[in-house]
Amino acid sequence: MLIITLPIWSIVMRIKIVLGLFAILCFVLLTYNNTPIPDSRIHLNEDQLSDVIIDNKETSVTVNKDLLEPKTKTKTTTPEILKTTNIYDDDPVIETQLIIENNKRCYQQLSTHKNMIKYNQLAELKLTQNQKVFLDEYKKYCEQLNELHPEFKLTDIRSIRKQQNSSLANSQWGQIMTGEIDVTTLSDYEISQILKKNDLNILTLAPKYLEKYYQKIIHWELEDVLQNHQYDYINYIQFLTHQLYLCESGSDCSPKSSIMASLCYQNSLNCGLDYPMFINSTLTQGQQLDIKLALEYLKGQYQ
């Protein structure tokens, strides 16, 4: 009996093994088919990109001409956009936008536009004593800045915007800002490489001009990193963390910075703090922990 059943058992086992291997093969093939297909628009490989990546360790909020000297080496394989334009050109469009961005609160504070004056008057009614003292000082600082840099046109944001609109962008990032380069034509990979330049001038404006990328890629990845799925909460942590990254990279986050003046306007507890102090004292333990995780994630995206 044993002699008869053993070979049968052995045959059955072999069939099972073959079937099992076949099942594994099917599973692997199906999984492989579900793997996202690489974006067909990607037309740069790592080697090609490394040729156009520029050393940008020394970045500054104020655009420094020396740093903006084009230092790119391009190969014939480089795609059209990168062949004709360089990210680090002395680009008046970027420069003007950074002036606006970094002095946003002063433009609001010194505006001579009647609606803005009215808004400021109303806002003043809501301020606590602490806020009033701080923001009076801040206004004086803005006035001094206006005297020192009349070219910033701090009393009239519209005229500097006009100036910006009449300028010609001569870099890739500038052309992205003016819309000459349609961001939607860039692949996710290309955008990720722009972010990886880790240029403060680009990163300061990146969430605004690469909004769709931030929504489509960074937002969802951050949900996974934080294991939190509240859309608005993730957006908020992303915003707070991105700002912290800018601060750590050299952006002005002192109590007199535009970002801190805005936060003082919103909450009197923030007046007189710098940005890292704001994170540590105004935000909850939970927010701080999530920002810490999100910062590590953003470092991976930007470096």
Partner: protein, 409 residues
């Protein structure tokens, strides 16, 4: 040894096959009484979840029992025997039926509408609704149909039915304590809204000119404008004198307009006065909330009390909360409100099970994104096992504890 390897190998294959074939099978839980460990740690143990009000079920039961009854005349709201709270929730829920009404009118399958929504859903790259989502969407469609049949006619549009549901709700007299509390909460919200309207109006700059003087200036502006227009007849080029005259009129008009402009000022005292009225009223609502047992009333009042509006001074209620918790960031407070207030309501027997409005709205994306993870679970399970991150859990727990300690009877 070989047989062990073979056994392990076979087990692995079986596991893979099992996973492959059964991963998409919908498991629809009808009810659940389990609460996650996190929920327990968050003091969310409820007395008896089985006592939850199954509002939709009640509605369906009532409808079934009314099927044989004759219908009322056209234009009248069909008579129902539902209670005040159910009628309120039905009226609220109908907000979610907007697209369904359109679908019924266009003879379109509402499930196709759900599928279309998923085509552009970036969350988790889920491009089509799961079986569970289709099941619950059908459930939602049935609720909408039920509500339409209950109060409306075939030709009624969305606003007509919603208005009829509102009429039905307001025509019911609250009987129980909880119903009376809901009625009181709604009255309070209405009163608060009227104060807020007054507050907004107070921000419009007012002229401090005496009425007679103000009228006189307006008349002068009008006369100068007429005279200026009459200088030029439009047929021949303007002479030097005419140009000069027009400029003179223009300057006069401009200087009068400047007087009016400069006389307009914001009345800070008036704003401050209304602000203190609003703050006082919020304090009264806060006092009332201590006595409230109705979850619906709690949601309405607490949402108003802890709502922070920019360009408005912090209320005493918010200041008290900030002094006793670590929540200082008021934008974050608004995000915490969205989660924590419903959780407190759940602990007050508000429907939070798999068929509740709250869970349906997450499962189907009726108000927020679509979460397949929400379908078939309770709100607490969904929140603590998926929606809220581990780091945020502590903040939710602290805020939840604050609200419960402050308002629990």
């Amino acid at each position: 040894m070989k047989s062990i390897i073979k056994t392990v190998f076979l087990a692995a294959i079986l596991l893979i096959l099992f996973f492959y074939f059964f991963q998409n099978t919908p498991v629809i839980k009808k009810d659940t009484n389990t609460i996650s460990n996190q929920a327990i740690s968050a003091n969310l143990i409820k007395e008896d979840t089985t006592n939850k009000i199954k509002i939709k079920k009640q509605t369906n039961d009532i409808l079934t029992s009314n099927e044989g009854e004759p219908e009322k005349n056209e234009g009248e709201i069909k008579e129902t025997q539902i209670d005040y709270i159910t009628a309120f929730r039905d009226w609220q829920y109908f907000e979610n039926c907007y697209t369904d009404i359109e679908d019924f009118g266009n003879n379109k399958d509402p499930l196709d509408t759900l599928a279309e929504r998923f085509e552009n859903n970036p969350r988790e790259s889920q491009q089509q609704p799961s079986a569970q989502q289709n099941y619950y969407y059908q459930h939602h469609v049935d609720i909408c149909k039920t509500l339409i049949n209950e109060v409306g006619d075939e030709n009624d549009n969305y606003s007509q039915i919603r208005s009829k549901l509102n009429q039905r709700f307001t025509s019911i007299k609250p009987k129980t304590d909880e119903e009376k509390q809901l009625e009181r909460a709604l009255q309070m919200i209405k009163q608060l809204e009227s104060y807020k309207l007054e507050y907004n109006k107070a921000h419009t700059p007012e002229s401090n000119l005496p009425p007679l003087e103000s009228n006189d200036i307006h008349n002068q502006i009008e006369n100068f404008t007429i005279e200026m227009m009459s200088v030029y007849n439009g047929n021949s080029p303007l002479t030097q004198d005419q140009v000069q005259l027009i400029e003179q009129y223009s300057e006069k008009i401009e200087s009068l307009q400047n007087i009016v402009r400069q006389s307009k000022q914001i009345n800070a005292e008036k704003i401050e006065k209304i602000e203190s009225v609003i703050d006082g009223y919020l304090n009264s609502m806060d006092d009332y909330l201590h006595r409230v047992q109705s979850a619906d009333a709690f949601i309405l009042i607490a949402t108003e009390l802890y709502k922070f509006e920019y360009m408005q001074n912090k209320s005493t209620v918010i200041k008290t909360m900030q002094a006793q918790t670590s929540i200082q960031d008021l934008y974050y407070l608004s995000l915490l409100n969205n989660i924590t207030i419903p959780l407190v309501a759940c602990s007050m027997n508000y429907p939070c099970d798999a068929e509740s409005d709250l869970i349906l709205s997450y499962c189907l994306g009726l108000k927020d994104s679509m979460f397949n993870q929400a379908c078939g679970t309770s709100l607490e399970e969904f929140y603590f096992n998926f929606y809220i991150g581990a780091n945020q859990l502590g903040d939710v727990n602290n805020y939840f504890t604050y609200l419960v300690n402050r308002y629990a009877n």
